[in-house]
């Protein structure tokens, strides 16, 4: 037993130690609770629905956020040698499912009308009771959960605000905001179950001209003949500057397979060498994310929606730490340790 060969000396030594001191062995395998805390900010100010923030992006715009949520997954602690230990997430049925958690920084108030009152700013779970030095996680939903049936998915994968149904997946991160250039957000005339209006305000925002039929009447009562619906000019609103991170350019490898393979998965690995969950938190900074983008202008559709042809995504993808077209993945500049 004690004749230790060179090749497996460390393993044998550990085994011998464990046998000699059973109490230590028990202590090593014991789990401890852990909470990785996140904090949303806009530069040096805390994020809050209803607040406006000055000097954002290349245009030094004034922004008023209206939603801020994101999925993180595969959260791991790193030891001194960089070896990863996954955090076993508490399966509490609201914010966490398997290895994926939804962080929700909006509370449904003011311009965040399409959100909800719940907030979630921490990932909670257990890890073996050891010493750790760093933290690593993925910003995004893992591929195996991203393309499932959203109508039967468990929480937090059943939040319709995070559905990205037309792309067949989820928005990994959703940031909505009004900016100086696009001051109006989509105003939904939402009514509660009893029919009373919850949100009735409506204003016209900046508009771009696109082609449309001449009819604007309610469709259910529309008696227009199809032939009369001639092309005319009509205005379409650009509502705010949304940022939607998610997998793009996804195709089925075969026509009969539902699984998707995405040329631009846009899942970002975020890693910090020094992170102590008892003292530190992860600061998520909207101002830093937008610092290389003119949020008062849009090249294509509103904001950045992860499309490789969406030029508004160039600086944003760079700060996420995700590659974009011929631009390589730069170190992320969105989150930091505090």
């Amino acid at each position: 037993m004690l004749s230790i060969s060179k090749s497996n000396s460390r393993a044998s030594l550990l085994m011998a130690m464990a046998m000699l001191s059973p109490l230590t062995a028990v202590a090593i395998t014991k789990e401890k609770n852990i909470s990785v805390n996140f904090e949303a900010v806009v530069a040096d100010q805390p994020f809050a629905c209803g607040q406006s923030y000055q000097g954002i992006g290349l245009s030094k715009s004034r922004i008023t956020p209206a939603d801020f949520r994101m999925y993180v997954s595969d959260i791991e602690l790193l030891d001194d040698k960089g070896n990863a230990t996954p955090i076993k997430l508490k399966q509490e049925g609201v914010w966490q499912y398997q290895n994926t958690a939804l962080l929700d920084f909006e509370n449904g108030s003011g311009p965040c009308v399409n959100g909800n009152s719940g907030l979630n700013t921490a990932v909670v779970g257990t890890v073996p009771n050891k010493h750790y030095k760093g933290l690593r996680f993925i910003l995004g939903v893992p591929a195996k959960l991203n393309h499932g049936d959203a109508t039967t998915a468990p929480a937090p994968l059943n939040v319709t605000s995070m559905f990205w149904a037309w792309r067949a997946g989820y928005k990994f991160l959703r940031l909505e905001m009004a900016t100086s250039g696009f001051p109006e957000l989509p105003k939904l005339k939402v009514k509660s179950a009893d029919g009373k209006p919850v949100e009735t305000e409506e204003k016209d925002g900046p508009e771009t001209v696109i082609a449309d039929a001449d009819s604007k009447s309610s469709v259910l009562t529309d008696k227009n003949d199809a032939d009369k619906a001639k092309m005319g000019k009509k205005k379409r609103k650009i509502a705010g500057f949304p940022v939607h991170l998610g997998s793009a350019n996804c195709v089925s490898p075969s026509k009969t397979t539902p699984a998707l393979s995405c040329a631009n998965p846009n899942r970002v690995t975020v890693s910090f060498d020094d992170f102590n969950s008892d003292k530190n938190s992860i600061v998520v900074d909207i101002a830093s994310l937008l610092k290389d983008t003119n949020v008062d202008y849009t090249f294509t559709n509103a904001g950045c929606m992860s499309d490789t042809k969406d030029a508004d995504c160039k600086g944003i993808m760079s700060n996420f730490g995700s590659p974009f077209n011929d631009q390589p993945a730069y170190p992320q500049d969105f989150m930091r340790v505090k």
Partner: protein, 356 residues
């Protein structure tokens, strides 16, 4: 078990039409179809209680809305022409330009919850939607009866399964052309329509390559087909930069696949009931069927009518043709023979508030 239930549902179709395929986890039942019909016409399925699926999918217009582009609850325009909802159960892929939309249960989340554009505007309002339906006098019992094994009867899953089942029940195989071709009624269509049929299936016009088969589209699946067939094509509608570019916000499946070769590719829609589903094309940019023939297909694509060169990206079969006015009339007579009045007026597909 699913298969047994599928057979139990009676498809409203003639025997010559192949048996459809439905997802294993949502076999057809008469109860689901009926519940789905009520939801399809229910204004509570929109943020402002003013729109339903049926607002943009009107039965008498072949379940389209007669507009170039549709308006959402915010009175904001979308970017696509409302598609006809007919024989959807035979489609392996749905909508105009998304190769990943293969199931109605998932596709219908786009109009319900989508924000770009906002259609029914319920994004983030799912709890409110369930609350509205729960508060109804009939829905709680109806959902329970329809989905007896579900723990929570009113859910996103049951709502989408019911609506999808109703949509799958929308079958149209009783046009004059069907009666002529399959129903043993040689006089069901006019002599002009018969001449138009020859043109349609002929080598000069090449229409039937993309609009062939019993559903007049090259995207098809059914029980007798081992592998689904899927067709996306660039018809040369636009050529904005001389290299085949389409408008940036409506570039076809390229927006989904990211493949530049997919620029301007859209799914060939069915031509059933085509005479009542104008305006035409994915963006409603052609108002009449005559113009679709004369100003688009006959000239190698509408880009040419718009003063541009024919698109280099267009499908090789879009090669233009010479056609006389009389032949256009014949072709139109054929296309009009695909209008199934019994489908457009079938009370089973209509607003239950009107036909209870």
């Amino acid at each position: 078990m699913g298969a047994v239930q599928v057979q139990a549902y009676h498809w409203q179709k003639p025997d010559w039409v192949p048996v459809p395929v439905v997802p294993n986890d949502n076999p057809m039942t008469a109860d689901k179809v009926e519940l789905g019909r009520q939801l399809f016409y229910d204004l509570r399925l929109s943020a402002n209680n003013k729109m339903a699926c049926a607002s943009c999918h009107i039965q008498e217009k072949g379940f389209t809305d007669g507009k170039a582009l549709s308006l959402g609850v915010n009175d904001e325009l979308g970017v696509r022409n409302a598609m006809s909802l007919v024989n959807l159960v035979y489609l392996p892929v749905l909508t105009w330009a998304n190769p990943n939309q293969k199931q109605l249960e998932a596709q219908l989340l786009v109009p319900l919850f989508g924000t770009d554009p906002i259609e029914l505007g319920l994004e983030g309002q799912e709890a409110l939607l369930f609350q509205r339906l729960q508060a109804d006098a009939h829905y709680p019992a109806l959902f329970k009866k329809t989905f007896p094994t579900e723990k929570v009867a009113i859910s996103m899953s049951t709502i989408s399964k019911a609506i999808a089942s109703f949509e799958r029940s929308l079958l149209s195989f009783n046009s004059p052309y069907d009666q002529y071709k399959y129903g043993g009624k040689p006089q069901a269509i006019s002599a002009a329509a018969k001449r138009g049929e020859d043109l349609f299936f002929g080598d000069e016009l090449e229409c039937s390559h993309c609009h062939g088969g019993f559903n007049f589209t090259d995207s098809v699946q059914h029980k007798r087909l081992a592998y689904p067939e899927i067709g996306f094509h660039n018809t040369g509608l636009y050529n904005l930069d001389g290299k085949g570019a389409y408008p940036a916000d409506n570039a076809g499946i390229r927006a989904i696949t990211g493949d530049v070769a997919d620029e301007g590719k859209f799914r060939s829609p069915t031509l059933r009931n085509i005479a009542v589903t104008g305006p035409y094309m994915h963006d409603g940019s052609i108002s009449s069927l005559r113009d679709v023939i004369v100003k688009h297909y006959a000239v190698k694509g509408k880009a040419v009518s718009d003063g541009q060169a024919p698109s280099p990206l267009r499908d090789p079969l879009i090669d233009g043709f010479k056609i006389t006015d009389a032949e256009v009339d014949d072709l139109l007579a054929f296309l009009e023979s695909l209008t199934d009045q019994s489908f457009l007026t079938n009370p089973r597909h209509a607003d239950p508030a009107k036909y209870d």
